[in-house]
């Protein structure tokens, strides 16, 4: 009875979470939903006399693989949400047809099949218990496959390193180069700090220059863009116009912004 209740609860949760994986616009939510599915499945494994697998599922999948996913998501850009406009003609329709057809087939096949009572793993694990039986199989009958998986893992690790590695094509800029570039550029000095000295102590407020004009470059571009998107604009029209202008500014900044971009190329979006 306990297993039935567990099953139905977890079945509903896992199917719902799986649908969430597919239909969430934000990839981070998809990842979290997938974590939910995996945890549910881990519990289902445990219920089905597979505690070892349940542990591995939590450690390997939820612990390692999901973290890897999230890490890459952060690298690629966490806040971008996907467009749900389908560009391939008929793709969704046929995908739904195929998936539904497949499910129908599975339901028909297993629903009509009459299974005998579960044999259970009692006899299979009679010699020395569950963990010992698993170990026995893994290190005797499947030892060769096991060794091969180790080779596979090493290869995968090497492959990932090779793929992610980037050759440095130019000489690393020395301090001398950087300083020369700065003095040859538009602005030898550092960017001005934000206007946190006056009536406002927020970092998204532009500074005022001694003559009273607004220093646009004192606000971070991304922060300005966030303010524009969410309507957090100051009441002073002069400052608001400066932030809007800063948010539209796509061009590269001189000075530290440039070296910043070089350090973490591929992360900005």
């Amino acid at each position: 009875m306990g297993e039935t209740i567990t099953f139905w609860v977890l079945a509903v949760v896992s199917v719902g979470a799986a649908l969430g994986v597919v239909f969430n616009r934000k990839a981070v939510y998809s990842a979290l939903m997938l974590g939910t599915v995996m945890l549910s499945l881990a519990v289902l494994y445990a219920v089905q006399d597979a505690p070892f697998l349940a542990a591995v599922q939590i450690i390997v999948y939820t612990g390692a693989i999901m973290m890897l996913f999230l890490f890459v998501l952060m690298l690629v850009g966490v806040d971008s949400s996907d467009s749900f406009v389908e560009t391939l003609k008929g793709q969704r329709f046929w995908a739904a047809i195929a998936a539904l057809g497949f499910v129908t087939l599975i339901v028909l096949a297993f629903g009509n099949a009459i299974f005998a009572d579960e044999v259970g793993l009692a006899q299979a694990t009679a010699q020395g218990g569950y963990i010992r039986s698993i170990a026995l199989l893994l290190f005797t009958k499947y030892v060769f496959a096991f060794e091969i998986t180790s080779a596979l893992l090493i290869t995968a690790a090497l492959g990932a390193m090779v793929l992610a590695h980037r050759e440095r094509l130019t000489e690393k800029a020395t301090q001398k180069d950087l300083s020369r570039a700065r003095f040859l550029g538009d602005r030898p000095s550092p960017l001005p700090g934000p206007g946190t000295y006056a009536r406002n102590n927020a970092i998204d407020m532009p500074a005022l220059l001694p003559d009273g004009s607004v220093a646009e470059s004192s606000v971070n571009r991304y922060i300005a863009r966030y303010d524009v998107e969410h309507g957090h604009l100051p009441e002073d029209p002069k400052l608001a116009a400066a932030i809007r202008h800063r948010a539209d500014d796509e061009g590269s900044e001189s000075g530290d912004a440039e070296s910043n971009a070089e350090e973490s190329n591929g992360v900005t979006k």
Binding site: L88, Q91, W94, A95, F102, I106
Partner: protein
């Protein structure tokens, strides 16, 4: 049986056994001269002459050995080697007919070789010229000496090749190259006839040797197959001998050097057709048969056509070429009259070989002294400047028009009388042709050697060197007396009888027969007319426009125009149709197939969109279908 042809006896020893040397000598000469090329430049012409003379010597010795045998044993076969196993053994047949030809070919050939030393002395390719001449002599001897049709055909093609090479000897002249090609192509038509004739002979009788045919064919047999073979062989003879309707190449062939015209296109090669008819006469052209009549009709038509063409030509060599056509027409006419005509045909062939070579070489001598000018309107009054040439040319002229007691008189008159006796209409046409001959030959002589000087300012006519005049003298001797020697008391007829048979009763030569007198009268009229027009009167040095008849003759009786409109144009149309069909039909099919496959591939490859999701969709649909199928067949 008076007309019976003698049996052929095998022969192994003696000079006749070595008669293959006749062919081998000039062949070796040609080989050496062609293979060793420039190394032989200095003495090549001497080697050519020596080889030709050696061949002549063998022929003379063979001739004397042959007449040493009894009359019934004068056909000797010399087996050489197995040529095509089970089909053809290569061998030579030495009999009165072939030895006569061999003597003519090597004798006149040697004289022309000697003459060419002088004539070609300024040509840088003289060595090559002698190589081709030797090649020709070898091929021609193979043609007449072979004891089967295959050997004859090889020689036949060999002389065709030599003729092609020699007509186009000055191939840097476009006209010479075109003339050579024309001769080759027209000859192909005739060769085709000969070849198909040989096929029919083989399928009908299973043999191609003259001996085998002689054993199988009862003399006088006449049926459809024999007529077909006869007409096919006649087609071959027409091509080689420039008889109607394949006459058009001979006039253009005069583009070759003059000794070539004398040897190949007057004395020997063009008479190969006559040889073919006479050699096959006992088998396929029996007296009174349709094939023989066809031969006679072709001969009569050609003798008139050639004579008419000869009247209008101002080019001395082309005039002589028309005359050659005409004279070979006489021979064909004689050859179409059965054994009675054979002897006269061969006799005329031999004497014609002498006097026509004499005339051609005389013309060559004139050209040699006149800066290679060939237009007779630019000659005139040359008899004082080239007395020897004039004398020999004049003897040849008298011989060809049939001046009493000279060669042509006896042999041509023999043909005419036999023709009047057997085919009266053709015979009287031959009489008419003789009259025209009298006119155009006189015209040639008067325009060249009489009248006023009309030559160009830079011409300095002079007598040719003795290496050229001596052969002329020898040839004119033949033109003088050979006819009388051969015809009187039927010497040639009796000599040839073992090879070609002989008539029931031997003809006696009448000096005062009606056709003979008529011929003489017509010739006299023709010569007198020519004297009035060209001897006494002024000859315009530019060709006058002339009447319709003159134009007709000048244009070679529209033979070229006829060939072009009947064969060349339809051939071109056919080619164009074939090209059109090839371009649109076959290419269209192939290209269409390729375009169809290419087009459908171009559409099919659109399936490869590059979108991984599309591929994934097809995989999922495939997997679902597979699962469904497995469930349906109940294996899950």
């Amino acid at each position: 049986m008076e007309s019976q042809i003698a049996e052929i006896a095998q022969h192994t020893g003696g000079v006749i056994g070595l008669s293959w040397l006749m062919i081998a000598f000039p062949l070796v000469g040609a080989f050496v001269l062609l293979v060793f090329g420039r190394f032989t430049n200095r003495w090549g012409h001497l080697l050519g002459v020596a080889m030709s003379l050696a061949s002549f010597a063998v022929a003379v010795l063979g001739f004397f050995e042959l007449i040493g045998f009894g009359e019934e044993e004068r056909r000797r076969a010399v087996h050489l080697y197995e040529f095509i196993p089970g089909m053809v053994d290569m061998g030579l047949l030495i009999d009165p007919l072939s030895i006569s030809f061999a003597l003519l070919i090597t004798g006149v050939g040697s004289l022309i070789h000697i003459y060419s030393i002088g004539y070609m002395s300024h040509d840088e390719h003289r060595r090559r010229f002698f190589a081709y001449l030797n090649l020709f002599v070898a091929a021609m001897l193979l043609l007449v000496l072979a004891d089967n049709y295959v050997g004859l055909f090889i020689g036949w093609e060999g002389v065709g090749l030599a003729s092609y090479l020699l007509i186009g000897f000055w191939q840097f002249k476009p006209s010479a190259a075109v003339a050579a090609k024309k001769a080759f192509v027209v000859n192909r038509v005739g060769d085709f006839g000969l070849l198909v004739g040989m096929f029919v002979i083989w399928t009908t009788f299973g043999t191609l040797t003259f001996q085998g045919l002689g054993e199988q064919i009862t003399p006088g047999t006449e049926n459809g197959t024999m007529l077909a073979i006869g007409l096919l062989l006649l087609l071959g003879a027409c091509g080689k001998s420039a008889q109607l309707p394949l006459q058009s190449w001979l006039l253009d062939a005069m583009e070759g050097p003059t000794p070539v015209s004398a040897l190949i296109h007057a004395a020997t090669m063009v008479t190969a057709g006559v040889y073919l008819v006479v050699r096959s006469g006992a088998f396929f052209f029996p007296e009174g048969s349709g094939a023989a009549l066809a031969v006679a009709v072709v001969g009569a038509a050609t003798l008139l056509a050639g004579a008419i063409i000869g009247c209008a030509k101002d080019d001395i060599k082309k005039g002589l070429a028309g005359s050659t056509m005409s004279q070979i027409g006489y021979m064909m006419l004689g050859a179409g009259l059965g054994p009675a005509g054979y002897a006269f045909a061969i006799g005329h062939l031999i004497t014609h070989g002498f006097f026509k070579a004499d005339l051609f070489l005389g013309a060559g001598s004139v050209m040699h002294g006149m800066n290679d000018e060939v237009d007779m309107r630019k000659y005139g009054g040359l008899r004082k400047f080239m007395p020897v040439t004039f004398a020999t040319f004049f003897i040849g002229y008298l011989a060809i028009i049939g001046f009493p007691l000279l060669s042509g008189y006896f042999t041509k008159d023999g043909i005419i009388e036999t023709a009047v006796h057997h085919q009266p209409i053709l015979g009287w046409l031959a009489v008419l042709g003789a009259g025209i001959t009298g006119f155009y030959m006189s015209r040639m002589v008067f325009m060249t050697f009489f009248g006023q000087k009309r030559w160009a300012d830079d011409a300095h006519p002079h007598e040719s060197p003795s290496v050229m005049t001596v052969p002329l003298m020898v040839l004119s001797l033949g033109a003088l007396g050979l006819g009388a020697y051969l015809v009187l008391s039927n010497r040639l007829m009796l000599f040839l009888a073992p090879a070609v048979g002989r008539p029931e009763e031997l003809p006696a030569f009448h000096f005062t027969s009606t056709p003979g007198l008529a011929t003489l009268a017509l010739v006299a009229v023709g010569a007198a007319f020519a004297w009035m027009r060209y001897g006494r009167a002024e000859v315009p040095s530019v060709q006058p426009r002339g009447s319709f008849l003159t134009t007709f003759a000048r244009r070679d009786l529209y033979g070229d125009a006829l060939n072009e409109s009947l064969f060349m144009r339809p051939g071109q149309w056919l080619t164009r149709i074939a090209v059109f069909f090839d371009n649109r039909g076959i290419d269209g099919l192939v290209n269409g197939l390729a375009a169809g496959i290419g087009g459908s591939s171009g559409r099919l490859r659109r399936i490869q969109t590059g979108f991984a999701r599309t591929y994934a969709l097809s995989i999922l649909i495939g997997a679902a279908l597979l699962t469904g199928a497995l469930l349906l067949v109940g294996n899950i």
